[in-house]
């Protein structure tokens, strides 16, 4: 049992265990941190598969970017002072049976298929070849991905910055940004927003 196998099994257990913890944990912050371990273990898997650049990108983008975004989302969409951080799970038994069937089907297909394998190459650095591919064969998808990221960034900023007081059940008030021509709107809007906060917390 060489080092490759030891590292593989160690991180396979880490990945699957923390993914299970992520799915079944009641606390959403625990889920987010379990997802971090899953993504980090997957970066180790990519390094095991001689995909160094993908591994580094996984660490930078997923662990450094998407996970921080998710944690921000958790904190910004949690009510109160983290008292209601627990979340609900519904239909657990049928969902588990369904996904177990899906997983068993996938595994049986993967194992029973006779894949055409290429002979293993030695691990040379893939960085130069990837850069050349990006500038030649994948030039158009590369540019399109850049434009897509720009559009997603602008859209996310525009959508997320449009703040609005949470709608409290039973009372219907308009948006807190009231029209400027009504004279007492400036004195009225803080009251209504704080009243909305109060009724929202209860």
């Amino acid at each position: 049992m060489d080092l490759f196998a030891v590292v593989f099994y160690l991180f396979a257990i880490l990945i699957i265990g923390s993914a299970t913890l992520m799915v079944f944990s009641k606390n959403i912050v625990h889920s987010a941190f379990a997802l971090m371990f899953t993504l980090g273990g997957l970066a180790v898997f990519y390094a095991l598969l001689y995909a160094g650049f993908v591994a580094v990108t996984q660490l930078l983008v997923y662990v450094g970017g998407i996970l921080v975004l998710i944690l921000f989302g958790v904190m910004l969409t949690t009510q109160g002072y983290f008292e209601k951080v627990k979340t609900r799970t519904v239909n657990l038994v049928p969902a588990t049976i369904f996904t177990a069937i899906v997983g068993v089907l996938l595994i049986s297909v993967f194992v029973s298929t006779d894949w055409t394998l290429a002979p293993l190459r030695d691990g040379e650095s893939t960085m130069t070849a990837l850069g050349e591919l990006l500038m030649t064969d994948f030039m158009l998808p590369f540019q399109v991905a850049g434009v897509l990221l720009l559009l997603a960034m602008i859209g996310a900023v525009l959508m997320a910055s449009r703040t609005r007081t949470p709608k409290s059940p039973g009372s219907s008030y308009g948006s807190p940004v009231s029209s400027p021509d009504s004279p007492d709107s400036s004195s009225q809007s803080p009251d209504s927003s704080s009243a909305g906060e109060e009724s929202h917390k209860t």
Partner: protein, 109 residues
């Protein structure tokens, strides 16, 4: 310690099995959790399972560096998707006061 050969030497199938388990767990998170952020995390798990398949085939199969390329583009698109989806989640929270996907059942006030 003597192990059978299929266990002692991890190959393509081992990575594929890990990816299948990850996919199933992501699917379970998507269909059984009710918090919209957890549904997003399940989608990230599914995307990562697909990525692991691409990279594993690029190592063991005849899909040479193209698999790495596809994995990189999947990561890029996942980043864009996460940003937009979290902005939508923030808007939903601002409008409904909750991120429970079962409570979000109206389109316009």
């Amino acid at each position: 310690m003597v192990l059978p050969e299929w266990l002692a030497e991890p190959g393509l199938n081992h990575f594929l099995v890990v990816s299948a388990v990850l996919f199933s767990l992501g699917l379970l998170a998507v269909i059984s959790r009710r918090n919209i952020i957890l549904v997003l995390m399940g989608i990230e798990l599914i995307l990562n399972a697909a990525n692991l398949n691409f990279v594993a085939f690029s190592r063991y199969g005849s899909l040479s560096l193209d698999g790495h390329m596809i994995a990189l583009f999947v990561i890029i698109i996942a980043a864009a998707e996460a940003a937009v989806a979290l902005a939508i989640a923030l808007n939903i929270y601002n409008r409904f006061g909750s991120v429970d996907v079962e409570l979000i059942s109206e389109l316009k006030e």
